[in-house]
């Protein structure tokens, strides 16, 4: 319906909006005309490669943040003192928008994949660590008592009761944070990386090509939506329980 309205509004070349917001029938053919390549000469890169590297960056950052936050959250929960001193620091860093880390990441890592991965990591890690500590706190005490009563040692209780108890909650938050991570990686890619979906939009801007900008935006939206569905599927398949 939305596409139909967009197409109808954009079908009038006299409409000034059409210049900024070309209809799908105008920018989609760009894909085929350019043989799925974006950019000029040796600097051109294929669309599927751009999608792949963006996904690789976002999933690398999210995976490292997910595993790191589970480990850190569990370590923090081991001691009341670390909860008392480390949690407020995490609470202070968590609200910082991922994009604010871009200048620092550029100084430390330069223009590289690491910059994008670092920004995704920073956007997700602190929130997930705080969530991990909160999830550990809300595990019903009787689940832990039962494991202890059955003779489980400390390590096995963490491995077999605490970790499975917190995984669904933390993964749900990871999924919700995917949107933030997705935006963060695009911002990072707009800082000068040669490839990735953010770079596609930036190429469109540099060439004053609104068709390319719109094409990039559409791919970003569709890929982001598809990834969110994939994460939902993983959540339903592997982390379906609630304690």
């Amino acid at each position: 319906m939305l596409v139909a309205i967009w197409e109808w509004v954009g079908s009038n070349p006299a409409n000034p909006v059409t210049q900024v917001l070309p209809p799908p029938s105008r920018f989609l053919p760009v894909l085929f005309e350019s043989d799925f390549k974006i950019g000029l000469g040796s600097q051109s890169t294929s669309i599927h490669h751009s999608i792949f590297v963006t996904l690789l960056r976002v999933f690398s950052g999210m995976t490292i943040a997910f595993i790191g936050s589970l480990l850190c959250g569990m370590l923090i929960s081991l001691s009341k003192w670390s909860e008392l001193f480390i949690l407020p620091i995490l609470g202070l860093i968590a609200p910082i928008a991922p994009i604010a880390w871009v200048p620092l990441a550029l100084v430390v890592f330069g223009i590289s994949n690491l910059t994008a991965i670092f920004i995704v990591f920073m956007g997700v890690f602190f929130t997930l660590t705080i969530a991990t500590v909160a999830e550990i706190k809300r595990i019903p005490e009787n689940l832990l008592i039962t494991a202890q009563n059955l003779g489980g040692n400390e390590l096995n209780r963490w491995r077999m009761v605490i970790l499975p108890s917190i995984l669904p909650g933390v993964f749900t938050l990871l999924r919700l944070n995917f949107i933030a991570a997705w935006m963060a990686v695009l911002a990072a890619e707009m800082t000068g990386l040669r490839d990735g979906l953010g770079a596609v939009v930036m190429t469109g801007r540099n060439l004053f090509n609104s068709d390319l900008i719109l094409l990039g935006i559409c791919i970003i939206g569709i890929t982001g939506f598809a990834m969110d569905r994939l994460l939902l599927l993983i959540q339903q398949k592997f982390f379906w329980w609630r304690v």
């Binding site: 008592i145 039962t146 494991a147 009563n149 059955l150 489980g152 499975p164």
Partner: protein, 273 residues
């Protein structure tokens, strides 16, 4: 002498208090002395909030007494031990594990290899009548099935004593009666010592060989009835109903328990038939 040697769990001069308002201590249990013999079925009856669950948690090593001690096989109990199993009202099944995995959890968490306990778990699943449900998860089970899994999980590791904290109180009457029969069968077949806490007088009489009545706070033993006769297995028997009425009145007026000596004298010989 025999009586002493067969005592598996013993509570001696047990006191338990918790910090209350304005630095005052709330005494929950006071001077509890209780011996539980090997293979017996003991029911602890009391009103809600009267301290009977606290007593059970002390007996399981989940709480430490403020004073007094608990002996397991003559040794002071220090914390929880797999020798004492516990089943709670909310079954505490692990939702990410199916029935088989939940029942075998006691072996797994202790680091046993699956090959050493798989057949035991399978036998136990058959024994508790859940052979068709081995692969089901807790959210797919009824309340009664969940409770059977929780009991099976506890007895799988062969505890010397099984403590049950109002395990059937959330279930409807029909299901509760079926599970009472199930628990009795389990007790007869495994000879596990069972201590069951309940506020249901009928349940306490039906199941227990020895019935302990815990009075209101501070909780203390106000009645102890042993050697239940076969008539107390029949909930419609006149003697059963008579005892039920008596215990209900004891619970309502536990401060007047001493005034019932005349009744006790009449009742106890009939129990020892």
């Amino acid at each position: 002498m025999n009586q002493v040697s067969s005592t598996v769990l013993s509570c001696q001069n047990l006191y338990k208090s918790f910090p209350g308002d304005r630095k005052r201590e709330t005494i929950v249990l006071s001077d509890v002395n209780l011996d539980i013999t090997q293979g017996s079925f003991v029911t602890i009856l009391g009103q809600s909030g009267g301290g009977k669950s606290t007593l059970l948690k002390l007996m399981g090593g989940f709480l430490s007494p403020s004073s007094g001690q608990i002996l397991l096989h003559g040794q002071a109990l220090k914390g929880t031990t797999p020798e004492i199993g516990m089943v709670f009202q909310d079954q505490n099944l692990y939702p990410w594990m199916n029935v088989e995995q939940n029942i075998g959890f006691g072996f797994r968490v202790r680091g046993d290899k699956p090959v050493t306990y798989r057949h035991l778990v399978r036998d136990l699943i058959d024994h508790v009548g859940l052979s068709h449900a081995g692969k089901l998860y807790p959210h797919q089970l009824s309340g009664g099935m969940k409770q059977r899994v929780a009991i099976a999980r506890s007895i799988a590791v062969k505890p010397d004593v099984l403590l049950l904290d109002e395990p059937f109180s959330a279930l409807d009457v029909q299901l509760r009666r079926r599970l009472q029969d199930f628990l009795r069968t389990i007790w007869q077949e495994t000879s596990t010592t069972i201590v069951l806490v309940t506020h249901n007088v009928e349940e306490a009489i039906l199941l227990g060989q020895k019935l302990i009545v815990v009075g209101d706070r501070p909780g203390q033993i106000i009645e102890e009835i042993s050697s239940f006769a076969p008539e107390f297995r029949d909930r419609y028997h006149p003697k059963f109903l008579e005892l039920q009425r008596y215990l209900e009145s004891v619970l309502e007026r536990n401060s007047t328990i001493n005034n019932n000596e005349q009744y006790q004298e009449k009742m106890i010989p009939s129990l020892q038939k």
